[in-house]
């Protein structure tokens, strides 16, 4: 074989990935997302404020679930201290609005950037840990930050702080929607970039990736910082919406746990899965709250247990049609498979 032949063979290899590589099924996913976006834009005009409020709450969790997916689902580093960034976003936005008299559209990005910066700093330390240890350490980080905030004069300490009241509620709806769009976009874009390939490799087998020349830490930090940016965005909008914030309200592990449940429920590897999970689970939560004054948490707990046992890979995978069998059979097969696989 002459060199030229070898060169010709080599030249026919696929080029190195362009900035965004399309995946199969992208067109359908984008269509669904676009349709949902159009509907979401129109809704506030059609529904009364109570529903708009509920949906804004759903968007909030959509942002959290999608953002968590970046570090937890896609990179495989389960972050349980995400609420730390919600708090940073909330308080930074609040402090800048109240003390520096900045308008909301200026204060919010500042909070996001600060959160991303702190993620870079903390990530350099914490992302060296793995699995359970990483989870516990991030949780610890969140609790430390919560207590710190309660001890500072600047934040109003344990008494909390008031943000200037906003006018029309629809403002929050649209801000949250924008945040959600950004989060879903990030979830879409990341796996399709070169960094995304590196992160996928790190998730599958970090040591092997390292052998291949991928330095894991910078990529992990990237995902962590993106996650922090989005969590802080959600936090800042939430603070403005609530008007009154205090440490336990924003540095609250409930946010993280719900985000994780929603991401897992919807499908941790997918782009729209976490957002879908947020929609379904939050709607269920609201419905249950109205059913029983007392037992709604019990129902939710049972629901989580059932989900985890029967649909550990999430809704997305559970409803993938199998060729040559009906929906019901596919469902049963998926459940059986999940049980077999996970049992001792």
């Amino acid at each position: 074989m002459t060199r030229r032949d070898a060169g010709a063979g080599l030249r026919r290899e696929p080029k190195r990935p362009a900035s965004l590589v399309p995946h199969r099924g992208d067109a359908r996913g984008l269509a669904v997302a676009a349709a949902a976006l159009v509907v979401a834009l129109v809704l506030p005009g059609l529904l009364n404020t109570y529903y708009v409020r509920i949906i804004t709450g759903i968007f909030l969790f959509g942002i959290l679930a999608s953002a968590w997916n970046l570090i937890g689902g896609y990179t495989g580093y389960p972050d349980f201290g995400g609420a730390a960034f919600i708090g940073i976003g909330a308080y930074t936005t609040g402090i800048l609005m109240v003390r520096a008299h900045l308008p909301f559209p200026a204060a919010l990005p500042a909070g996001c950037l600060l959160a991303a910066a702190s993620a870079v700093a903390m990530g350099a330390l914490l992302l060296r840990l793995r699995g359970h240890y990483f989870a516990i350490a991030t949780l610890g980080f969140m609790l430390v930050l919560r207590q710190l905030t309660a001890n500072l004069e600047l934040t109003g300490g344990g008494s909390g702080m008031n943000l200037p009241p906003a006018g029309d509620f629809k403002v929050f709806y649209y801000w949250m929607l924008a945040g959600l769009a950004l989060a879903v976009l990030a979830g879409f874009a990341l796996p399709r970039t070169r960094a995304g390939y590196a992160i996928a490799a790190i998730r599958e087998n970090q040591d092997a990736a390292q052998v291949l020349g991928i330095e894991p830490l910078p990529f992990k930090i990237l995902a962590y910082a993106a996650n922090a940016f989005l969590f802080a965005a959600a936090g800042g909008i939430y603070a403005y919406w609530l008007t009154f914030i205090d440490p336990p309200t924003v540095f609250n592990i409930d946010f993280t746990v719900q985000a994780v449940v929603m991401a897992l429920f919807g499908g941790p590897g997918t782009v729209l899965g976490p957002a879908a999970g947020a929609v379904i689970l939050k709607s269920l939560d609201v419905t249950l709250t109205n059913v029983s004054l007392f037992l709604h948490n019990v129902f939710f707990g049972a629901l989580v247990c059932a989900l985890v046992i029967f649909a550990p890979r999430g809704l997305a995978e559970l409803f993938q049609a199998r060729p040559g069998s009906g929906r019901a059979a596919a469902l049963r097969a998926s459940i059986r498979e999940a049980l077999q696989e996970n049992r001792v």
Partner: protein
Amino acid sequence: MSPAVQIALQNAVNGLLIGGTYATVGLGMSLVWGVLNVINIAHGAFVMLGAYTTYWLFTLYGIDPFATLPIAGAALFVLGYGLQRVVVNQVIRASFLITFLLTFGFDLLITNGALAVWTADVRAVTTAYSGRALHLGPVIVPAVRLMTLAVALLVALLLHLLMSRTRLGTAIRATASDQDAARLMGIPIGHVYALTFAIALATAGIAGGLAGMSFPIYPAMGANFTFIGFVVCVLGGLGSVAGALTGGLIFGLLTTYAAGWLGPNYDYIVAFSALILVLLVRPAGLFGRAARFRG
């Protein structure tokens, strides 16, 4: 003796005494985490169940709270065996997140179930000797807390003997070490796992009974203890009795001194900063094995 030294000594005593309760809480969590690779978020909820068991036995039948401890332990043992065999086993090989969520679901169910059944009323176990204390010079050693520490040490000792001197203990350690090899050796994995979980929950029950004697009892009390369990496990190292014991005592001392010197509103800051430090410097904890169990 100068007042500063007096305060320091009293804080040391307070820290060690409360550390005993923390250690007992951490024991069960460490066992489950180290052997089954499951982080039991609901561990605090089980502690709460233990506390209520002690409370009801004491209030309804007048049984001395210390005497109720074995009963609380036994009840939770049975519960733990059943739970593991029927529910937890379904997800034991799944990713860490799955098991985390399952135990989170448990926590929701148990805490809210307790709220529905026993209401949010805050209860306490008050005996005739609740207020008694020993006086060691200028330092006061509350009697109940001292006995709590003694029980904690006893439980730790028993558990250590179980793990190191009995066949069951060997089987548990073997399973933790290499599940497939253990299976090849004929060890019934499902049964061993269930027994481990049962033992862990039994210690949680006893820890709850002990906690109930010193702290107010209410359905939501578990969350605090779950956090404490985490820190104790990480500080001391997973799957190690000595680790949980040391971790608990150190954590007790840390938080008490932090509260004393900086103010009670700094206890988490100090404790969790220490935790993060330990994780970075020596992730296996003080007594944990360097090898990772399953990633």
